[in-house]
Symmetry: C2
Subunit: 294 residues, 2 copies
Amino acid sequence: MSADTRSKPNKGSGGENAGAPGSLEEAGGKSSLQRGLAILRLLASSNETGARLTDISRALDLTPPTVHRLLKILVEEGMAEADKATKRYRLGIDLFGLAAQAGNPNNLRDICRPILLRLSATLRDTIFLLVRSGFDAVCLDRSEGPFPIRSFTGDIGGRVTLGVGQGSLAIMAFLHEEEREEVIRFNLPRMQGVGIIDEVYLRTEIARVRDLGYASRSTGLLPGMSGVAVPVLDRDGHAVAALSVGTISERLNEERLPVVVDILKRESAAISRQLNPFDPVLRRPAAILGGGPA
Amino acid sequence: MSADTRSKPNKGSGGENAGAPGSLEEAGGKSSLQRGLAILRLLASSNETGARLTDISRALDLTPPTVHRLLKILVEEGMAEADKATKRYRLGIDLFGLAAQAGNPNNLRDICRPILLRLSATLRDTIFLLVRSGFDAVCLDRSEGPFPIRSFTGDIGGRVTLGVGQGSLAIMAFLHEEEREEVIRFNLPRMQGVGIIDEVYLRTEIARVRDLGYASRSTGLLPGMSGVAVPVLDRDGHAVAALSVGTISERLNEERLPVVVDILKRESAAISRQLNPFDPVLRRPAAILGGGPA
DNA sequence: CAAAAGCTTCCGATATGCGGAATAGATGGG
DNA sequence: CCCATCTATTCCGCATATCGGAAGCTTTTG
């Protein structure tokens, strides 16, 4: 980041593709790899409709021949797909397969999937699995409950500033001391308007969460909505993820809250156990290896 | 110029690792974009453990400085992550967020998620959502039922040759005529040993599936296992996906099969309806737009 | 049917990425 | 504790792969 300003005046007017607001993260620097990735990101942001070559060209400020060449490579590699009919490009399915493995340390996602299902069935609310990524929390998976609520954290792959939301707090509270400090320092300015803005209060909250073992507050982001989250700990007691429930406040009243917390904690512990499947003797993991998908 | 040919001119000669058959999928050609993507693929295949710089260097036959530079870019762009402690690289979470959008035409995945859940709960078996990708079917999503069965199609992102398995057949049967012919021509050789090898029989099967509206056979791949699948159709009556159930044969006997098929068809129709949310008058799709995840 | 916009190919100039070699850092063994 | 080995990182000159202007070709628009 920083310092790119390629001095391109950007011609601005163009206007029509209301698609990606603000973002427009400039071309992508210099290397063709960066440019290729920039194209992928652009495609991701316009996957609803797809993007045409010239759209990309304009948005990224690259010449059509360049975009054409890069797209050709991306398509050959399966990272993008061209709809020959409409001349629109979309992200390729290979990319999807690729990323099924991504952000999945220790197969966290796979391990949690059945647990999320169980939880959403039991609690009847939507359950989120969040992991830390830098200064954000990322939604790794989600399992919808029957109740029609949508947290803005909602989409899989979506990010929130660490510290905003209960899941985030649960993770924050169980980070290494120094990491937490770093996050707080970096994130406080980012939380303006969407989260806690007072450092003292934030620290109080974190201490409380650490103490109780769960985070639960009316978020204040959406009136009437509440959340409760517990951390998923590694064997050193540090957060690797969080399980979070988002629902309407009435469903997390004094009566029900302890029950929910209890269930969440139990499941979180189950996950932790699976994360460290480590039998002093037979410490061979799932390793089915061998065949390979060829 | 259909150009679909993934076979590249391949110049072969370069030669150093020409010897090793299998694995080692060559560096990735020439462009740095290709090399970068090759690295990502390698990381995906070794995400369990992570890969070190020299591992990558050797596996892809690139010099360490090159790998180092590319990795640096990938890390900066969030596509890879470096574990500074172990010196190992893994896929980055950004990639995951990226791909959450991928291979998701019309938000098929999002639309189907609750339906898969419902189905797996109702039928108590594992439900697969497959889409076509070139000459393969790709598993877009999966919802595990209580029964402990695993189809080899299992993993999200996994691919099967179109024509192998019931889901595949369901898709095949409802492709455009010409597309189907193309697929058959291309895939027959690929199905040796893992699927139907007789063209006449394959065509009979397809006709049958088309006629019945579902595919169901003991796959023969795993004795005792069966599958049943229905296509998900677009408004022209062509397959965009398939819903598939994999389970033990006993659970798809004459008595239960019709029930299952019926349920699947109903859900498939529900998906189709959502895919074409198109009211002659108010033909504005789901477009909630605006906010964006920012 | 003409005009415009978009897509693709070609090609020369040059910036970009490449890899050999040398440095710094980590790891392990004697 | 020090040395040998392996790995990661930096540097730099050379060459290649990439870029973009221009022009041909195709599709859409009016």
